[in-house]
């Protein structure tokens, strides 16, 4: 028909949503029960994903904090006796060439005849300080690389660097524990300690280190000083030399495998490597299987939730026949009826999804608090979760809307009582 009969009726999108919302609000209890399946399903999704990311975050944070980037290389008993000393002179250069190494440095114990460490006094001054009791602090030779690898943080003074190292200066660093024992509280006046009868200037006090707590109780001096002044090279008996390597995150395993070969290609077996434990692979595998299982369960409950919406809306059509007939009489086209039913069920799903997401987040937080964990919920998990509910609702509305548009208005008006 070429002639336009009348301007076609239309319905604003806002009105479609408004009418759908009015229907849902008119029967709040029934709407809540209808959406319950979706609530539980979406809550399940969010809780499972949130808990698995929380647990994963827990593992990595504990792991990263201390050990994940630290590799310690020591010499085995047989290696100690090997010709050419425990570590070749260019050990540091060889390690620096490895991919993933941030910094590396050597350390060993000083083996001097009288390992006494005493506070120094000005000549002629009365000895008013109490003599330290117990065994003296450990004496350790260290390269600047070791100080960097151990992440030494100072409470006072400075670290010794390449200058001290090059000149074999009689200077030393005190761990905070050793400084307390020796009565050294300040380095501003260049205090000295007597090591094996020889004076040694204290240049700094180390307050914190990563991973190697024994440093706090030790006296550290430049490795060149240890050799030049105290004549205590790393290959002397009892020196127990070692190399500490700081790696990039995730590179520790690789560096641990490669370091012995890099240092001594002909005899890598002379070194013992201490590595951080690799992330609990078995644990994460088990967790991912469980996560998959729970997600499948949540998916099934989403299907049940959608079916429940579809079922309730189909049943409700019987008592809404007159309403649909009325709307048709007032100018609604079939597509307006279909749109309203679809939006109604999608809205039910969306509301269920929002409620479910809230429940899921609450569950994750409560479980995390109970286990003393930090709740970790990825925004990518939470933000689309209500939309999953809406999508389920939309699919659920297909059948009811298909049925609704097939209601003939004339029959609708005569067959059923007023709504």
């Amino acid at each position: 028909m070429s002639r336009r009969i009348a301007e076609p009726t239309r319905m604003r999108a806002r009105d479609v949503i408004g009418e759908a919302a009015a229907v849902i609000a008119a029967r709040p209890l029934r709407s809540a029960l209808t959406g319950l399946g979706t609530v539980l399903a979406v809550a399940g999704f969010v809780a499972v994903l949130g808990l698995s990311s929380t647990a994963a975050g827990q593992v990595t944070s504990a792991f990263n904090q201390r050990l994940a980037t630290e590799v310690r290389i020591t010499v085995t008993h047989s290696g100690q006796l090997a010709a050419g000393g425990p570590f070749p002179p260019d050990t540091q250069r060889r390690l620096d060439a490895l991919h993933g190494v941030v910094v590396a440095g050597m350390y060993w114990r000083l083996t001097i005849a009288s390992p006494s460490v005493l506070p120094a006094r000005p000549a002629g001054a009365p000895d008013r300080t109490a003599r330290p009791t117990g065994s003296p602090p450990a004496l350790v030779a260290a390269t600047p690389g070791f100080l960097a690898a151990v992440g030494a943080q100072l409470s006072q003074g400075r670290l010794f660097g390449t200058w001290d190292q090059a000149r074999a200066e009689p200077s030393c660093l005190l761990g905070a524990g050793a400084a307390r024992r020796l009565g050294v509280t300040s380095v501003s006046h260049q205090p000295a300690v007597m090591i094996g009868g020889l004076p040694c200037t204290v240049v700094g006090i180390i307050s914190h280190v990563r991973g190697q707590p024994w440093v706090i109780g030790s006296v550290l001096m430049p490795s060149t000083t240890a050799i030049a002044i105290w004549d205590s090279p790393p290959d002397s008996p009892g020196a127990e030399p070692g190399v500490l390597v700081r790696t990039r995150p995730g590179a520790a395993q690789l560096v641990a495998r490669q370091a012995p070969l890099a240092i001594s290609p002909d005899d890598p077996a002379r070194y013992a490597v201490t590595v951080p434990p690799s992330p609990a692979r078995l644990g994460s595998q088990v967790a991912s299987i469980l996560t998959g299982l729970f997600l499948t369960l949540a998916g099934i409950s989403l299907l049940v939730g959608a079916a429940s919406i579809a079922n309730v809306m189909l049943l409700a059509l019987a008592e809404r026949t007159a309403e649909i007939g009325l709307r048709r009489a007032l100018g609604a086209r079939r597509r307006h009826i279909a749109a309203q039913i679809l939006v109604e069920s999608a809205l039910l799903g969306l509301l269920g999804g929002i409620a479910g997401t809230s429940l899921g987040v609450i569950a994750v937080v409560l479980i995390a608090i109970a286990r003393d964990w930090t709740p970790v919920i990825a925004p990518l998990t939470v933000l689309p979760a209500p939309l999953i509910g809406a999508a389920a609702g939309l699919v659920a509305g297909l059948c009811p809307s298909w049925r609704a548009v097939r209601i003939e208005p004339a029959e609708a008006m005569s067959a059923y009582p007023a709504t």
Partner: protein, 240 residues
């Protein structure tokens, strides 16, 4: 609009023109809801349709209101052959030119009275504010403006029918179809409804009223009796 605009040029077709229009359901068992009728209603007429129960009065109104398609005959609305109308055009005519007052008020009981009346304008894409304003005007016209905010479910039977008439008038229809609008209402409300429908007629609207109320039947310009043929048919062929 186009039809009225050209009326000086062309002879205006009648508002309603039924030729042998009937409706039967194929069954089983086959049921004749409306025996074929001929009826012509001019613009601005107020025609009352009377007849015994089961004579097809409501079916006739549904056919005229494009809520059901006749199975026989030809129905022209403003000269347009309605058999050719699709869902879009039928909905447009229902929404813009035809007003319905059903036997039962058919209100959405959980919505306010004003919402119910403004529902008549929902499918015209008007803004909610404008719909509400128009609804208030209509409620004022039928005399229940004070109930605009009340839920439809709280209204008495008479108030509900008045709200339904307000809804039917809200769209400004050129054709108003009423199916026993005063059935089981008190005399006061009946008088009020008769006044309202007469006013629509006076304002130039075409009104068709199905009724068994003699008071209402007398107020039309013309009365159309339905069912005499049917009874005659039945008398003539008792086997059917």
């Amino acid at each position: 609009m186009s039809i009225h605009g050209l009326s000086w040029l062309l002879p205006l077709p009648p508002a309603i023109e039924l030729r042998g229009v009937g409706l039967s359901h194929s069954g089983p068992p086959p049921v004749t809801a409306l025996s074929p009728v001929d009826l012509t209603v001019g613009h601005g007429e107020l025609v009352t349709v009377t007849g015994p129960a089961g004579s097809g009065k409501t079916t006739l109104l549904n056919v005229i209101g494009l809520l059901g398609r006749p199975t026989t005959g030809r129905y022209r609305l403003n000269g347009i052959d309605t058999a050719l109308l699709g869902d879009r055009d039928a909905a447009a005519l229902r929404g813009r030119q035809i007003g319905f007052v059903f036997q039962r008020p058919q209100l959405l009981l959980s919505r306010s009275v004003a919402d119910n009346v403004s529902l008549a304008l929902l499918y015209r894409g008007l803004r909610a504010q404008r719909r509400q304003r128009r609804a208030m005007d209509m409620l004022d016209r039928v005399g229940i403006a004070g109930l605009a905010g009340a839920l439809a479910g709280q209204l008495s039977a008479g108030e509900r029918q008045l709200a339904a008439i307000a809804r039917a008038l809200a769209g400004g229809p050129s054709l108003l179809l009423c199916d026993e609008p005063t059935a089981s209402l008190d005399p006061g409300t009946t008088d009020r409804i008769i006044d309202l429908l007469s006013a629509v007629h006076r304002d130039g609207g075409t009104v068709l009223i199905v009724t068994r109320d003699p008071l209402l039947a007398d107020c039309g310009t013309r009365s159309f009796g339905l069912g005499a043929d049917l009874l005659a048919d039945r008398a003539m062929s008792p086997g059917r």
